[in-house]
Amino acid sequence: MKGFKPSAPFLLLLPAFIVLAAVVVVPLLLSLYSSFTPFRLTKPETFFVFVGLRNYLSILANTDFWWAFGRTVLLLTIALNLEMLLGLGLAMLVEKATRGQRILRTLMMFPMMFSPILVGFQFKFMFNDNIGLVNNALQSLGITQDAIPWLIEGHLAFIAISIAEIWSSTAIFAILILAGLLAMPKEPIEAARVDGCTPWQTFRYVTWPFVMPFAYIAMTIRSLDVARAYDIVKIMTDGGPAGRTELLWTLVARTAYSDGRMGMANAMAYFSILLSIAFTVYFFNKLAAARTQIGAEW
């Protein structure tokens, strides 16, 4: 025994640290630096000009940016809450099914297999004002005569995007909550029933506390991956009409790759990173709290 002997967990985690440092941490330091420069893709020499906080100050004064920011937060709030509720409902429906559970589980995971970009195309197709399934169905059923401009009017476009987002991500909640329901020992439920609990009480005080960590795992996985809404919006409206569905991420992509203003885009990207971090830290704390509540070791 001589020299430094690293501990087992350190060695086990080392590969993860190396990969993440190389692909995430170092590039992000680079982008942090370039957010203080007026770097443009077309003018490489601008990479070495330091302008301090100028990019950040002009972002803070930019109303388009703040609209995109607010819209992003609104979309996430609506989508995450509804996905959680619908996922819980779906998991309980599938858990109660006596026959064909395997095929139901497979069907339930169906939207998860769809690439977000595919979800975007699919809903763009379905919400098309002229040939889309939604308008065709509404007109054939005689509910409306007009072609509803789903993706052309700002508010409707926002609703269409939310629907696409919810459709694609409810499965993650459903499958993890279902895993929780199935892993749950049956004795406490039977005991609660024998003790005279109503079905609601059984759910609220026995099932839910057990399943909650699973729901928060799903929530955190989702909050890690909220930016996938970028793919959906990119395809469905590309931020239009007239910037009415512009999210933080589409704005970053536009500034970086269409306008070529990399420095500015990196500064904006830092806002989107901070937003994601805020969501994740919030749910991570909830998860830790839920775990201690059921007495799991943390």
Partner: protein, 288 residues
Amino acid sequence: MDENSSARLKRRLLGIVHRIGLFLAMLTICLPGLWIVLSSLRPTVEIMAKPPVWIPQEISFDAYVSMFSGIGKGGIPVIEYFRNSLIISVTSTIIAVAIGMAGGYAFARYRFRGKSSVFLGLMLTRTVPGIALSLPLFFLYVRLGIIDTHFGLILAYVALNVPFTIWLIDGFFRQVPKDLAEAAQIDGCTRWQAFWQVEFPLAGPGIASAAIFAFLTCWNEFALASQLTRSVSAKTLPVGLLDYTAEFTIDWRGMCALAVVMIIPALTLTYIVQKHLVGGLTSGAVKG
């Protein structure tokens, strides 16, 4: 007797409500996908028809034929995209799961200082939105000359998947009681043997589900792939899908056909692995 029959009636009614709810939920989930499959088999005239044609008059595989018939005939290099997607997704999933198993085991079984902070730190690297990460990666990859290569995307996807692979696998190892591995060690197993013969089989379904998640993430990823690949030599299927959109028109039928081609492998894989997914989670052996 009366109470009995009313209870039976109530149960039957609840059963019917449950079935209707289940049916509606499954319909909502499946309808968009089925509509894509159907549209890929219909001629464009029928898709564009006004008033809509609900019942397909003719079914043809023209979209698939023209898709595989090469560039210039209305086709796009699907076979190359498919190959790229497969190589990139499988390689990065295997690497990410291997790294994730080591990391997940460390979190589930060892105590060390700053455990929660390290864990949170790992997760935070995953929160970086793909589009935000693509800015510096694009710049770096151009400099290193690995833009538009399989290697570049595999590297990025491993990093993308490692944090939540660790997360999931940690959770599943945690559900395997420590006592089992300790009992195996008392019976003469080394820690290494105890892991592979006791804990790994029990956590296997969880690891499988982590692998599904990782594979699907790679298979479906767009934000990074769209910026880090440019040509047929590395473009993946999600990026290839954009080949069907021209400036103002979209070839809906061709796009639907490619969508079906994209979904089939994901569907098959998920179906194969999902029977392991829940079976092991219902802790039969663990309780004893």
